[in-house]
Amino acid sequence: MSEREQLIQPVIEEPPAPDEPQSPWMRAGLTVVRFLAAIAVPIVAFTILWLSFEWLREADVNRGVIVLVAVAVGVFGIFALYWAMDFAVNRMPERWRESVRPWVFVGPALVILSIFLLYPAVNTIWLSFLDARSESFVGLQNYGFVFTDDGMLRAIRNTLAWIIVVPSVSVAVGLGFAVLADKLSRGESIAKSLIFLPMAVSFVGASVVFGLIYDFKVFGAQTGLLNGIVQGFDGDPVAWLSQEPWNNLLLMVIMIWMQTGFAMVILSAAIKSVPDDILEAARIDGASELQIFWRVVLPSILSTVVVVMTTMIITVLKVFDIVFVMTNGESGTEVIAEQMIRWFFRNDHDGRGAAIAVVLFLAIIPVMWINVKRFRAEEEIR
């Protein structure tokens, strides 16, 4: 049994074996007591949790104390709840015990998932068939909008461009870095850390940084880095983010800058897992370093490349922050996720927002499926 399996094995507490009472009345009485305990204990545990929660909300004490108590209740409370439930299960009649126990352990997670994931998803689908204020049923009208509106069509076109450009460039550049870093005799980890660093920046933060690079001033001195360079070569400053359709490319650069590190780290690990003796065998077979890369290394890590690609496609499909911060979706830079937020929260048309969300969701499913399939295939090889 693996360590992990051991961890999730429920602690099977043998019910205390009482001296079997002789009289049937006593036996029946005991069962009733047990049953009541089984119901009471979890209820008491839950009530205590609930009361402490109420207290935390109402109490007028130092915030630090509240935080400490909240952490304690959060961590130990959940533990206590599980313990109480397990206690209750052990007091149940033997026939029920083992069929009830799994639900007791999985139950809380299922409840939380249903409330925060399943319900919103179903509700979104429902909303997508209603009008702006979710009052009357409008059939497929919102979906018609998704595929006919000019802004939406541009968003779909742009998102497709993002899907094609960002993952392929990131993977290509990341792979290049991974291979080159692997050849370094010293400083490999420093070089890789530097390239990985942008991953730690939020999308908004990165956008602000690139905002300074692309900056254009209508009046006064130019402060943007790019325009500074252009002027250095005696060129005229350009309003970079208004240059359709190339402004899209400038936005993608931000994403590429951030995702390359991710691609590099994963691919670097994959490259290192190619056994040395296979590379040596290829060398002896007469392959040059370039041939070794294309014909031995790359095929060996292909499944990892696909996983990185698909993971990135999912991230790209959800891109919103960059566009929102940089151009606000103006100048033909709309993307699907940005449109979704716009229709939900700014144009207050829940039906259209929901329809866009559903389309986005459906677009992600096949990518997800490929990802999971590839992931499984890779697990099998190991």
Binding site: R283, D285, A287
Partner: protein, 409 residues
């Protein structure tokens, strides 16, 4: 096909440790040479230097007429079989074998012909379209061999190719390897730590030892298997080759003329003249400390031996191993064990040190299975003293060692 020669070959790693030193070795065209030695003796390093996978720090290496010191592995035109097979996991068996030929832009028909021919020889034709993952260890081993064969290279290099196979398959593949070589007659360098493989496969066997600060040379002796057995150059070779290992004991020779006796503890054995003749200059070592060596096979139980009353030893049997065709008898002589640097290295290789020897000399003798020997009982064995070995306890060298002496004696 080509001759491989090394002159003063050495390998020093960047951190300053020396792995190989002072190797002078000529591997003849078409020869099957085995490099054997305990782990850490540098045998794989030498092989990798021939292959070009390891840089040469000292000396000169040539394959054929070409000095290859600065020629990269891909241009050396040699093929290598790795311990873990090193097959390309994403290629079929056919593509694995054809890879080297495709890189050389060989004609497709010729590639197909060569691969199919090799596959037939190795009996893997039915697996050609499979991926390595779907093959057993033995089959993968054959594919690795096939990949080397189709190249028709100047030399085959094999790095413990059989060590990942189970015992039975290993014996079978060993025989096939021998057969394959006598068919292809390609120069082969074979690395192993298994002395049985070394003795059965090699035309010549090079016995290596780890380099030490004091003795920065690995090569102990390069000779045909039988010479290693009968004419070991030193205590290291004597102790490494042969299983069970040669019995060694501190003692001396006394007497003169026809009446020379080997004396160790209470035992006094008359030494046959032939043994003295095989150690020229032994006269200078009379009455001086020597290490006496007797192979376990050079004993017989007194009840079935013919003659040899003056070559007998009384022993207290500790353990017997009855193999049917013969019986091994293990016992100890109450004499301090032979301890020399070589012996310590041999012990270290089998995971022990001097203390595991205790304060007795452990002996093993092979006797006929016709007579019964009881553990805990007594027995009398006769020693074939014509085949005794004498070593200098200081240098560990065989007295009067001459290479090739076994054949001329």
């Amino acid at each position: 096909m080509a001759q491989i020669s090394m002159e003063g070959l050495g390998k020093i790693y960047p951190d300053g440790t020396r792995a190989v030193g002072d190797v002078d070795l000529v591997i003849e065209d078409g020869e099957f040479l085995v490099l054997v030695g305990p782990s850490g003796c540098g045998k794989s390093t030498i092989l990798r230097m021939i292959a070009g996978l390891e840089e040469i720090s000292e000396g000169k290496m040539s394959i054929g007429d070409l000095v290859v010191n600065d020629i990269p592995a891909k241009d050396r035109d040699i093929a290598m079989v790795f311990q873990n097979y090193a097959l390309y996991p994403h290629m079929s068996v056919f593509d694995n074998m054809a890879f080297g030929l495709k890189l050389r832009k060989m004609d497709k028909g010729e590639i197909k012909r060569r691969v199919e021919e090799a596959a037939e020889v190795l009996e893997i034709t039915e697996f050609l379209q499979r991926k390595p993952k779907a093959l057993s260890g033995g089959q993968r081993q054959r594919v690795a061999m096939g990949r080397a064969i189709v190249r028709e290279p100047k030399a085959f290099l094999m790095d413990e190719p059989l060590s990942n196979l189970d015992a039975k398959l290993r014996v079978q593949m060993r025989t096939e390897l021998g057969r394959l070589h006598s068919r292809l007659k390609t120069t082969t360098v074979y690395v192993t730590h298994d002395q049985v493989e070394a003795m059965t496969l090699g035309h010549r066997v090079a016995v290596l030892k780890a380099v030490t600060a004091k003795r920065p040379d690995n090569l102990q002796q390069v000779a045909p298997p039988s010479e290693l057995f009968y004419n070991p150059a030193n205590l290291f070779v004597a102790g490494f080759i042969g299983s069970p290992a040669m019995n060694m004991v501190n003692g001396h020779l006394e007497g003169s003329g026809d009446q020379v006796y080997a004396v160790f503890g209470p035992h006094r054995l008359k030494v046959e003249k032939k043994a003295l003749e095989r150690h020229p200059g032994i006269e200078d070592h009379m009455n001086k400390e020597l290490v006496l060596g007797i192979r376990p096979g050079d004993f017989e139980d007194a009840r079935v031996a013919v003659g040899g009353e003056d070559r007998q030893m009384e022993i207290d049997v500790e353990v017997t191993e009855v193999l049917g065709s013969e019986t091994f008898v293990h016992y100890s002589l109450p004499l301090a064990p032979v301890v020399t640097p070589e012996i310590e290295e041999l012990l270290a290789d089998s995971g022990g040190d001097v203390t595991t020897l205790g304060d007795t000399s452990r002996f093993a003798s092979r006797i006929s299975s016709d007579v019964e020997v009881i553990p805990g009982g007594k027995a009398t064995v006769v020693v074939d003293t014509a085949k005794m070995h004498f070593f200098d306890p200081e240098s560990g060298k065989r007295i009067g060692f001459r290479p090739g002496a076994y054949h001329t004696a």
